[in-house]
Symmetry: D3
Subunit: 304 residues, 6 copies
């Protein structure tokens, strides 16, 4: 055994020792977790069902659409069953140790969830179609649905949210969160799958947008980049997860870039406008415009 | 036919029905759209022409550079013709129905655009070289061009912008926007391909930067993360797309993190500095420093 | 020779001419730079050693873990030697021309760095395990380590930082920066590898977070999206790179979304809380809460 | 320009000069030939329609079979149109220069051929099913259809032949030959797509089998490795391509390893058996057994 | 519905109808067969354990060999369990319907077979090492083990045989045959996994070699291309599968190209030599040389 | 440690022990052998230079051919240097231990070989063009160069031979043999790279053809499947490798399927024809036709 071999053996034993000691961040029981790649693949298939012909390099046309849809449905069905089944098997460390559920029961429930999601693709598409129209209407630079679907991160993010939210509402664990995090990584838009969002929703630019779990958003709402719809810090610690911790935006509200709206009791009334960088922790009545007061700026000419 | 087969058939028909009803978000006429993947590939080839030897795993050296360049040019030429030709064929839904143009005419125009872009790579590289120097000068932590080109998202974003802007100015639809959106997704920096940006431009960190379509930026300008150069909300609705809706930054302006500068008539004079989080909707003369006034903070000691 | 061939030849010569003129942004001496893809692969291997079984599609279990670890260690060792060796060969343009070092010396040093990093994986994992616990404790929505490791961008970002910081402290050039930039591109969280960060660190949502090179962060610190820990502008130009230019956060500090803390002398005392959007350029004593004063807003009801 | 660069430039010009001089073996007009890879892909799709569930890693089940079939049919249809269209555009150098046919005419004909092939998959499968049964019956070692379909090269070769022969009979150029050559490369069994072969055909082991273009083979025929059904040399030069140059084997004939049967007028009568290594250039009546006479061997004991 | 859509629908229903009618050549119950690709992958892993460092692009060295071996063993173990388990689940159509065995029983048996094979890799390597020496000794053109292992199809074929034969002897169905067929397709050498072959075996060139199921081959035997060790035709029909139907070659026998040796009772005595193209259906005593008698040729000068 | 872990550890140690004992069939010093995959890639590049536009899916046209050629030349140059350099480093076990040569010397020689091969591509193409013409002339079924180049295994085999033979004559070890073995595996045609073959050479069907190292073949020679040009067995043992052990075929010789011609002194005179299955170990004068005498067959009618 050479010196380097001895060294390598030591490195290995060191890391194995660490697996024994920090057991919470290794997962050594085979492939029983839903992998990011598996979730990403099924999300890609679902998006190709939602926006057929727009995203991938598959050729879809009138001729083949029935079979394209059937083949993707069957594949998604099997993949959803697998990842949902695995996700349901993970114990929630935070809660009290749940009774482990028998595998066939988990499988049957995963199957039901998968069928249910696919059965709702048409209604999900209805809402997403309204989102695409909102993007076309909301941005004077937008020219065609093709442009909006292929190039607007806000449209991708809300489409994924609508799929993830459907699973979230039926109680599917982990998967909805993995889906929204995948699109967060690609768009910078972080919408918790628990948020309830009405139709014709549009996020422009979008980087830095955060929408919390118990947010309620009405119809025809428009957000710009960097908007936070969050919890007040005090609430985090004092309220339980079930409480509404994030604000409500009624229909036809617009929130400009960098604004922050906090609190579960905060309601932005119908048709209101919240200006850029505004920090808002209380409700405003319908039809209100809230702007930063004339900014308190200090200006001076550079010496020289 | 089993129950599950019946179920699957229902799912499929449901989704097909949805394609008939929400026709705007499906595209069932084959592969006649430029796909994201195709735009990404050609963008990768163009960047490898701009920064040869820095990005990929291709071995490029003095020996092979002529052939490397020729092979990439020929490949890019064909790919650009294809994606530009497809993009020009898409009807702009917003406008009045344009007369469909004959395919040979589209193809000839696409060819001209492709040749023109490749012919301008040298002048585009001149400007990008100034951007790289600006990054080296602007960040005390930067050590070599290699570091800046491989690790600074701002450098990637401006390089892609300079390519996309060239196409935008010649009237190529959709492709410039798809290119800038690809790099937005990777860097969090969202520069509309319409923005005019002088040489030696540097964006540091960059996440959350938004630069609008009609922005004018002079030379030696430097922006930090989270800066918005945007339109005032009122303008969006009342002005046409052609109007200048976004601000002008003259030469040697620096804008710190999180600042927002809005409005088509807003001009930040040469050599000015805009401090972090400043919200500015009016012009300032050359040589001005604008900072938030002493922040109005409320401080108290935690009870204990 | 046809017209188009002549045209293509001209394009090629134009670009080659540009390589001669803008020599700083081409790199034509073969494959002697560490490529992004190579750094990404080794980072993926290191993360799979840190979080075995969570990230990839590899099946790892008790049975195979020793060999999985050994195989990844050996592969990482070779890959680290190669990329570190290449990075050490790059001249720092900013400094005075360093004496080129002999290849065997570079190789030996790269080997030492690679062994050293792998030998510290166990201690790095200890700290990362504390970060995962902090995420679980800090977010009422988090349910299991699996959820946190697979779906929280902040956890990925800090794990990569801890690896990159180890290399940074030993003086490895370029590679640490390429690693953190890779994860910045995926999460929107930009932590300079030079920052010193105590254990149990948590970044929630994270898009737009920037943490500067000389930042010091204590234990149990929590940041939200859009937080900047930066340098004051004046400092950038007047101080050398070695000076501490970024703030210090003591243990148990929380900083809410969009807050900006600047300056090398700024110290946020133990247990303090900095509210959302706060702009802070001076120190605060332990146990302080700093919030925006009641926001100076202008509100009016929409006409009509 | 360095020496090596000059050298490389010379190499390149040398090869380009060779393209000008030996024009028959370069093809420099873009991608207008059917590539081996494209033919291989479509052949793979067709085989997956013929033997669904046996060959690939696709999961096909009762649930998804309709959509699997539809998706493969649509994909094959498009791919067949493309490769057949290209093949029909190639001038046959041997014949007199054919009038180049207009593209739409070629496309329409290619479409007709593609549809026609897919419409005959059921009847082709009927015959292939008989071949599989023949393999099961003919080899005492064979145990299941699964074994025969996955592990018997003779079954693959005859299945590909039946597809290629269908195209050959309809006059599709080049593609049938490329298909049979692909399977020849994998199995060592070289069946010209022109050969007419009755049902329940079985080739055991198969390496080295050659079956010529105008061979006629009845039902329930069985061949072993190394059998040649060829033309007599004299015939090759004196007869035209249209003449029957290869033998006829009537029903229930068996030919053992290494036998050679030559000549367009040679008829092996129903139920005959041709022994190993037999060389046969004349007809034999039904029910004949032909064997090598007691081999004329010379034997001696090794000196020792 | 357009004409072509109707046409496609008809194609699909036609093929589905064919699945109902020719049920023996479709397999529509999901992925429960071992796929060729899966068998090929595990075979590749096993060969990389047998010839580490010679075949793939993996870097294996003294440093990493333990982990390389462990990682491949673990991976092969899981893969073998899976494919053997599936193969054991296939009913042998030929036999009487076996009682379907419970899954856990199949799994346990598959596990035992997988462990057993890996445990015998060392003894299998011992024999293969003798085969490599035989190739080096037997071919005056061979220069190094590297040349023999990377470039001699006979060496690959016998190595695969030794693995497959191990499984065959333990009664594993289908997999051994799929393994030898994979290497038959690549080398043209068809060795039935049932054949018993002594050490130091060498096949030169090899195309067309066929070695039957019940062949016995002693030590230091050498075969050239086109040799058949087969069954006499009469035997096929009259004897059961269990009978010895193929010949026996004692130690130190050499058989030249194209020779055919048939029959279960045929024994080629120790040290004998069988000349090219010889057809032999009876035993010869030790030390015999058998050659074609002076070939009965007809020669004439071409008329001129 | 569980039972299975202990078991796995034992498996691993068993295999490692075997590496120590059978050292000749493992190669544990890293990646210093030319891998099959590397040789295959460079062979693919060389063939695409020989038959541009015919084989791959690259689009090559008049426009891009210069750059296509240059890029492939540069890539092949680097790859050839690497694999030839590695091959030259392997000790020939058979010979007396050669003095290990210094790496720069090996590298310089590998470079010279690589340049030399590329410089001879034009003359190699000249000969291959004659081979393609011979195939077109020799097979009445052949219609176009496209058909011959894409579908005739004999054409691929001779093209690879001509490349490999060039390297062989210059003394490059191992690589020529690996190249011809790659094409042997795909076509069943085994031509030793040492054979000297005149122009206009054609092999029809080809499976089972073997052409030995010291064979000399004139111009316009044509071989059918299963032809062996080999050494007499006695010669193998008694003569040295340098002796001519394989036959000579003068110009315009045709050899039909299955014929065997043996012996270094055997000369088949110009214009001769050797019939199928003939076994020939002596010379024949020019213009001779050699055929099997009326086959000695035994025929009988099957008992009814």
């Amino acid at each position: 055994m050479t010196d380097t071999q001895r060294q390598l053996a030591l490195l290995v034993e060191g890391i194995l020792g660490s697996y024994a000691e920090q057991g919470n961040i290794n997962h050594l029981d085979g492939s029983n977790l839903p992998s990011r790649a598996a979730v990403d693949r099924v999300l890609g298939d679902l998006l190709s069902l939602v926006f057929p012909g727009f995203l991938g390099e598959d050729e879809v046309d009138e001729l083949s659409s029935r079979y394209f849809v059937g083949e993707r449905c069957a594949r998604s069905l099997r993949a959803l069953e697998r990842i949902i089944g695995r996700a349901m098997g993970i114990q929630c460390a935070a809660g009290k140790p749940a009774r482990p559920r028998p595998v066939p029961e988990l499988h049957a429930e995963a199957h039901t969830h998968a069928i249910d999601l696919l059965a709702h693709i048409p209604t999900i598409r209805e809402v997403i179609a309204s989102d695409v129209r909102a993007a076309l209407d909301g941005d004077p630079a937008a020219c065609s649905a093709a442009e909006v679907i292929t190039s607007y991160p806000g449209v991708t993010a809300i489409a994924v949210h609508r799929i993830a939210h459907h699973l979230y509402r039926r109680g599917v664990p982990l998967i909805p969160r993995m889906m929204t995090e995948l699109v967060h990584g690609r768009t910078g838009i972080d919408i918790h799958p628990g948020a309830r969002i009405g139709d014709s929703f549009f996020v422009d630019h979008g980087t830095g947008v955060v929408i919390g779990e118990t947010t309620h958003i009405g119809e025809h709402v428009k957000l710009y980049q960097g908007v936070t719809l969050g919890a007040m810090s005090v609430e985090v610690s004092e309220r339980s997860r079930a409480t509404k911790r994030h604000p409500t935006l009624e229909d036809h509200v617009t929130v400009y870039a960098g604004a922050t709206i906090l609190g579960g009791d905060t309601v932005i009334g119908r048709g209101s406008t919240v200006g850029g960088n505004v920090w808002l922790t209380h409700s405003v009545p319908p039809g209100t415009t809230v702007m930063l007061d004339k900014p308190s700026l200090r200006m001076f000419t550079n010496a020289g």
